[in-house]
Symmetry: C2
Subunit: 282 residues, 2 copies
Amino acid sequence: MIEIHLFEQLVAFAEHGTLSAAAEELHISQPALSRSMQRLEEELDVKLFERQKSRLSLNENGELTVRYARNLLLQENSMIEQIRAFDRKKRTISLGSCAPILVPEFVSLLSQLYEGMTISTEVTGDPRLLSRLQEGRYQLAILNKKPDEEEFYSCFVSSEQLYVFLPPVHPLADADGLYLKELDGQTFLLYSQTGFWDGLCRRKMPNARFLMQQDMEVLGELVANSALPSFTTDCVMRQADPVSDRVAIPILDEEAHASYYCACVKSEKARFRPVFRHYEKK
Amino acid sequence: MIEIHLFEQLVAFAEHGTLSAAAEELHISQPALSRSMQRLEEELDVKLFERQKSRLSLNENGELTVRYARNLLLQENSMIEQIRAFDRKKRTISLGSCAPILVPEFVSLLSQLYEGMTISTEVTGDPRLLSRLQEGRYQLAILNKKPDEEEFYSCFVSSEQLYVFLPPVHPLADADGLYLKELDGQTFLLYSQTGFWDGLCRRKMPNARFLMQQDMEVLGELVANSALPSFTTDCVMRQADPVSDRVAIPILDEEAHASYYCACVKSEKARFRPVFRHYEKK
DNA sequence: TCGGATTACGTGCACCGTAATGATC
DNA sequence: GATCATTACGGTGCACGTAATCCGA
């Protein structure tokens, strides 16, 4: 058994060319490194270096050993990372959501129900959300379709209706309802973390421009202080202060009405029973 | 970076179930092992054990870590072995021979020509001798056919004639020459390290019985003190004392006359030039 | 003369073993 | 009481750093 730090030091030497440079990199003295390399040779019982009095260099054995050592070090690091990830996973619940609206509510609920667990969330419009749930990258998902009952357990959570949010002076501001295609070609302010809504808008309005905003607060400012149309939903309007004088006009496209389902893989149904019960009793 | 001996100790614990048993196996004290495992947890920053006051056991993380650790230890060991083998190979010349007769002469020659090198030899009737030469398992080979000149360099060394070695009372003892098939069905004393001769005898005399002898000295005794036929060759008779009163009758089969070639892969021709020169000038 | 490797030497501390403690069967 | 793990404690070996030496450009 040869300690791995000797191999690490050998690799450092290989990368720096001299003991002094490698020693500096490793935060040890040059003599210490010199002795370590001697010990490595001794323990392997193989000569690894050409010694030309004032110049140390790897011989063929040394080159080979460096290649193997790099490999071993990579493997150990990846091993340690995987162990830590495995452990972390057990103490975190990852939630993937197709839309942002329910995320805060879920974080709060999960924190209450699963004390001590870390809740990590991700909003994505990516249709692979479901397969990631299956692969274990998420333990819970908020979807806008009820998933296959063979593989997943799910329950309805709530629904959301999309509105276009227009300044009163906008030519369409007095409509009772609009289809997205009627809005195509215009320039919108859009929050960047809208999950599947983003894809919907781009699909239905291929000629529109979207000024993406990372920050909800900045978006609010811009909505309040510009004439650019933006979007909102019934849920958002219920939560947020109605500061602006904008008018919200419902989008009539069928997909503009989303039904949200909370889902987990069937094998974890028991674990998440409290979550489902919370929504089923409503 | 986590030192590998900690993983080794973890595996020992996993295999023995208790710290005390594992500590004994590892030739360290129980407290030392206890502290090592605490340090491993600390350095990984992951809990690996269930602690029930007087019983220590692996939790899920621990089980996973043990699996990874076994793997890592195997890899390190194999790495060390391969490095040593690589080094050893550079200081040993492996000779594969299809027949035993030239081996001592070659060992002596190689020892003189390549001072400090270890000479390792193997006699085999295996037809893969040539492919093993190509793969580098042997650096030199003694063959009974001249090999492909595209891939190998070779030169003629000497030839050998097979004789059947009969007691004077044997019914065929006064023949001038014999084919192997005429001897089929009889029982022979045979040295076990005869290389390709062995295969020849079995092929040409499918009904013969062979009493295999590992030890040349024992074989000599039996030849001198039994009536069982055996084999010899011109080369052997030239070297050995003619102690026995047996008669040697030449075998007339074409294959009973072997021509030996010394061969190496072409890329090593230069390295072995002294060997070839030694035989070419004869 | 400087940069680099090795050798010499004294020191500190990390790790060990023994002993004590606590806990469980 | 026996077994097993952990904590306490004192001792020591070993790997470290500093300093000295040697060598080559």
